[in-house]
Amino acid sequence: MRRVAVIGTGHGRFGVRKDATVQELAFEAYREAVDEAAIDPAEIGATWVASVPEYQKQRSLAGVIQEYLGLNPRPVWLTEAACASGSAALHTAWTAVAAGLYDLVAVVGCQKMTELETAEILALMGRVGDVQWESVFGSTFPAYYALFARQHMARYGTTREQLAAVAVKNHYYGARNGKAMFQKEASLEKVLSSAPVADPLRVFDCCANADGAACLLLASAERAKSLGGEVVWLDGLGSASAPMSVLRREDLCSLPSAVEASRQAYAMAGAGPEAVKVAEVHDCFTIAEILALEDLGFCAPGEGGPFTLAGETRTGGRIPVNVDGGLKAKGHPIGTTGVSMAVEIVRQLRGACGERQVAGADLGLTHNVGGIGQYCFVNLFRRE
């Protein structure tokens, strides 16, 4: 298979975007990626659109996006894996370039979540678990992560303060990211005293629904090298699934799909967690970032809380994590998130992140979870 590079990145503003349709959001990110790569869009052989379709009124969204981007008659289709849709699209696009089917492709993550009425969103939220045996008892998305948090606290002594430290850190970096939904710091006190959602998780333990888009352009090694300069390669891919139902999971303190996906990605890239210089992990809830640190091998099981509180996940720490604000402060347009993570890592590897830049970043990781771990994708990007 051919080596595949990321040659262009684009990222729109995340937040409540009352000013734009989903295709207009997609165009913001697409324009930035094409301009950055300085390629002729006629070179784009196919487009993968990542989005969770239930949130938009438009049916079969991929067709609308491709038309609005002006890329007809080249092929397009939608990739869906809940909150990991973006990484699913990236993974699939990679296989097409690696196999030699196309030399240059676009991956567009786009999501408009805030167009639905609150009641419609709540109804959708109630159906994220197994609807046959769980949702009928009133489970919610935060409730599942609350079940994980409760177990983690009981088994390892993880504290509310350690959970809150994740939110404080991510808001610190969100305040320094011009594309983030919440560009405002949050104090430990504010996080700890926010309203309860699903005990022990509170409002500031949860990421927010958002609108927004991000775009990646992938190219074959030959095309990437022809552009000159250093290249960022997508060298390690891991993907795995786990039971939809929390009732079929062996352990509530780990996402088995994340462990398996990271094992694959590390093996493929020939690098372990100690070599990773910067990471984007799926912090849909504060406990989720702590589970990710442990599942990815950045620290031992049970140590994610103290590791975070000690500042090891900030710039200058052992492994800077979510220094763009993460889902927590950047916002979580669910289909877009995986693409957004990859954009941040590629830009970190290029040294283009200003005051959020991680010094010496040459290997970066993304960890993108769908639902409560039904899907997980881990990718390793290398600058060389």
Partner: protein
């Protein structure tokens, strides 16, 4: 028949819809594969071990231990009037796990590992009939 299972209806039809009749009769049941004997809770029509599609319901012990729980303050559609309510996941002594709401006898601050019973419940009648189960403090005489 499955549309009567749980607190609200999301799944109307299932091959294991007969669980509603079992709960109406006061029996807490798992599915059992009639070919290889594999049991499952939650019940499933198709055996995950031998792929047989033949199963029967068998009554199982209500004894369980609390694995984790959460008190929900932001409710999904259909549960707005019930907040805050507490939801638990329990490990069944008979194998498998169940998710259910706390019943009146189980304190919301019970520690993980606390012995509980999974108790069949019926509410309403006619079109309003619901069959489900709740988590209750384990009483010796309630052991299944």
């Amino acid at each position: 028949m499955f549309d009567r299972f749980g607190m609200i209806t999301l799944t109307r039809f299932s091959k294991v819809g007969g669980i509603v009749d079992e709960l109406l009769a006061g029996r807490f049941v798992a599915s059992r594969c009639t070919r290889c004997g594999a049991r499952s809770f939650p019940p499933r029509a198709d055996c995950s071990e031998c792929r047989s599609g033949e199963f029967e319901f068998v009554e199982i012990s209500r004894r369980a231990r609390l694995l984790s729980y959460t008190t929900i303050h932001a409710a999904p559609t259909g549960f707005e009037d019930q907040v805050p309510y507490t939801l638990g996941v329990v490990e069944l002594e008979a194998g498998g796990r169940a998710m259910a709401c706390y019943g009146e006898t189980l304190p919301v601050d019970s520690e993980l590992g606390t012995p509980v019973s999974v108790v069949p419940c019926v509410r309403g009648k006619g079109d309003g009939l619901r069959a489900y189960y709740t988590l209750e403090r384990r009483e010796e005489e309630a052991d299944g």
